[in-house]
Subunit: 426 residues, 2 copies
Amino acid sequence: MNVALISVGTEILLGNIVNTNANYLSKKCAALGFSLYFQYTVGDNESRLTQLLRNCLQHSDIIILTGGLGPTEDDITKESVANVLNRKLVMDEESKNRIQAYFDFRQGSSPNPMITNNNWKQALKIEGAIVVANDNGTAPGYIVECNPEVDGNPSETTKRIILLPGPPSEMIPMFEKRIEPYLRKLQDTVLVSKMVKICGIGESSAETQIIDLIEKQSNPTIAPYAKNGEVHFRVTASAKNIDEGNRLLEPILDELHKRFGDNIYTVNEEETLEEVVVKLLRQKKLSLSTAESCTGGLLAGRIVNVPGVSDVFKEGFITYANEAKMHVLGVKKETLERYGAVSEQTAREMVEGAIRVAKTDAAVAITGIAGPDGGTPDKPVGLVYLSCYAKGKIVVKECRFKGNRQKIREQSVINALDLLRRLISS
Amino acid sequence: MNVALISVGTEILLGNIVNTNANYLSKKCAALGFSLYFQYTVGDNESRLTQLLRNCLQHSDIIILTGGLGPTEDDITKESVANVLNRKLVMDEESKNRIQAYFDFRQGSSPNPMITNNNWKQALKIEGAIVVANDNGTAPGYIVECNPEVDGNPSETTKRIILLPGPPSEMIPMFEKRIEPYLRKLQDTVLVSKMVKICGIGESSAETQIIDLIEKQSNPTIAPYAKNGEVHFRVTASAKNIDEGNRLLEPILDELHKRFGDNIYTVNEEETLEEVVVKLLRQKKLSLSTAESCTGGLLAGRIVNVPGVSDVFKEGFITYANEAKMHVLGVKKETLERYGAVSEQTAREMVEGAIRVAKTDAAVAITGIAGPDGGTPDKPVGLVYLSCYAKGKIVVKECRFKGNRQKIREQSVINALDLLRRLISS
């Protein structure tokens, strides 16, 4: 069964809000095993929405709309659906009582809410629709089952139009509590997926390594995602139940592990690179400190993303100026003069300094030229040295990154985390 | 002139990424004075994209596509546009050289990048298209001017199809540098706008203070944007030329300054809070250091966002553990035991320590409980102490932020920057 998603709201077309509803519902549809071919956004305009609905009814089994259920003149979603299906809007007594109760409850709160005629508009339902209660606002949702006319006759397959309120704080609870169970009953298969996350290989080179697997895919499927210096492959199986899905995934995951080896840092969708690193440090009982120059705290900031990291991460040094590198980390003046602040030698002395001052078991250091200025033919913008210490060993890696200041700094952080991961898991 | 926006990418339909490109481009179209009636998202599927393009060409003057310009088999945007316009894909020598140079530059870095046949696909252009250079990646953009057939004849009005890469870090700089100037030339009125950026007042309270101005708006218009602890108001005038636009903006900007006073930190769209702070420090010839606990380097990371900041920012301390607060910054053991790590007293000693150790003229410190654990009834998650030193004065501010770990940390950083701004400009 395939779904079309329609977000209604001029505020989205003006760019005043980011359409997170479409993202949320897309994820949900994928997890439920529905195919989503199109997302649409349309303004608060009845003729354009009506035209779009007619089009979607031809190609989709389920249409999910968000927005346009409010009390104002602008809100035209219900009206447009009723129009396309040739149905009337009728008063729904239960909705009416619910709205009255909502305002009674808020009496006395400031500003004092007043029921206007507009509010009663929210109690109108499309004839024959299932009314879906809204626990977090006044606009109910609706499920409309219909057999729209095709060449003058009602369609043989039943189609569904689902209307949801626009604010995520109302839409999400309504979807999870009442719409998801309804949709699940329509499906006889489940989708099980794993996200294979890879660091240290470029996107097109990673893809080339498994192009044969991608091309022959049907079930499971493999889809690549490039993500700022990382490559993710989503492997998805369609099955009768979760166990069967996992069985189908197993051989393909084995093959990916065989081909990518320790470039894979996790197959858990929820797990980030910094979480994997912190988990490894915790397992090996290693404490960590950081020393950063061009990244200016972003590496530590990312490690501290992990809740409860204080048992592992002790302290970080941001030694942006050369004097700071010397007096905080004890980088030698001669080293800076002879090799420069962006050099293998300085990176090495920074990591040694971090270990000495913070007395941790492991450390990471970053020094580089993030630009836009400061590059030379010898040391161009994008040249970055990463250095790690753990288990009595120092490794230093020279990288040349492309992109603007921010991109170079982000790639430096990811590659530093990856270097540490490899060193402590080696 | 009206615009249709098409985002191409199965990853968006699967909900793996939020479509921020559509939001960004919608905002830009509104600012340029183009009408946007529809946003579309379609997967990496040539037949569906082709069908959508044919439909859009009938109703839109300009079609902007993002995504699907990568090197893989999946990337079908160029192919689909060529197909719809009956044009060929031809090798563009300049793009070819650029890709070669990109890989040459990265030679020697590890992992060693390899050009694959896939990469050359990115050097193909649609016949007759204007190639738009990409400073931050290998995929060029394209502008295709065309007169597509209507009932067998070429259309009278010229239509434009604009193809942009999907990653925001490539798309945004390309749009701002090369596409925006091109689009601006197509318009006969100009829109002149200022972004009034405010810190230290909540969104709804800020909006209430100027609701009379927002409601009576026609030209200039005022539109609010909430941005993670900041509130931005875009004030836009439509005029014959830039001078007239600026004249129209003047009285409304004066009024906003009168109402918000020093809560406004800039009216320059491009200028960030950290840039304003660095500029102030530079004007007053003050050097800066930072001391962070729960934000773990994010404050310093944001300051180091500003290119060339090394004359102002000297060093930063990430003292996540209590021992680090003591031995790096000299926070007293008694202070930690008596008042706790999250207290006014500790914040004060952290900032004093930063000044003493880094020998800078100014310093900022942050200590707080970012959660999800670690809160108590006395000191709940979200309790954060900010401390600043400058011009012989220490100020400490207690904040109580709402939201998840990341949101609490982001708000801490913004409010710390704002506290420093107010102290040094007072």
